[in-house]
Symmetry: C5
């Protein structure tokens, strides 16, 4: 599972109905690579989170039909990027 | 889920029947890497989209038998690449 | 799904019975990275193809028990590598 | 399966209930890339371990509902990084 | 599926019971990246093999409960690395 920082929401009016009403977050990893994750944790811009990928990402939404391959797994209490 | 820009259609007359009549799009990510995704969103060249991979990509076609590992999940309203 | 060029067959007399009689192809991607894919399309050296990975790769063989994680999905009609 | 070194625990009070009470470890691979894995092996900082990803990672927790995509598979007896 | 060279066995007395008695091999890919795979082919140090990842890796052990995400799929008869 990767550690990433929340950049902000992703606005996408034309999106697949299989995403239901879940919110999408733009995240950035330590190397600056951008990813989109589905969020059920209520994370905010600047938070450091870890993300779950693959089939586990769908179960993390409480409904395996949700069409995500990346879901926020938790908000990290304290993360010093310079330490890692 | 990755954010990519639509380059154009992929023309493939000899393709696996398991793709049914779905259209294929050539996409490019922020680093110039090329991928092919199945599209049900009607995206156009130049659109920025996010894509869903893995088993979720098959469910995104409304039929888990469709042989894709990457499907367009939505068309992003506004995406400024220089910002990210 | 990735776009790769067919290099040639892979000869492997001691291979897993779960591959049945399917032919294996050596493929090279745009960055020169080598991969092996199972082929049911009849592609030839020099052809540009797109490949399907993950669980979809197994379904693409018409039998989910086939032990592949990469299968040729189709032969591209025309692909100019310098354009992409 | 990748070989990684244990850095230490990850403290995450706001985390997904689907992780149950399992402990999370911060790991670093040979190139310094940081990952988070669920641990059932009791590994300690400095241990070299191998990790299992994908759906196998969920089964490795003894309960396929656990929301992980990376789980520690075993503690390596002796690993000399300079040799590899 | 990737092509890798067998380095040698991985000794791991404290390993997950879900690996049963299967042997683990340390493999190296063309870029020197190290991976661990489960082996049922009897490959030896120096052999060039191709490996199967994801859910197919579990089926390749003849028992989908085996906790691997990478399994040796076959021993390549002849592989000249300088050619590829």
């Amino acid at each position: 599972m990767e550690i990433m920082q929340v950049v902000g929401p992703l606005v996408c009016t034309r999106r697949h109905p299989g995403l239901y009403q879940h919110s999408l977050r733009v995240l950035r990893d330590a190397k600056g690579r951008i990813q989109v994750a589905l969020d059920t944790s209520g994370c905010r811009p600047g938070n450091w989170v870890f993300v779950v990928s693959g089939s586990a990402a769908r179960y993390a939404c409480g409904d395996a039909r949700v069409l995500t391959d990346l879901t926020v797994g938790g908000i990290i209490d304290f993360w010093d990027r310079t330490e890692h």
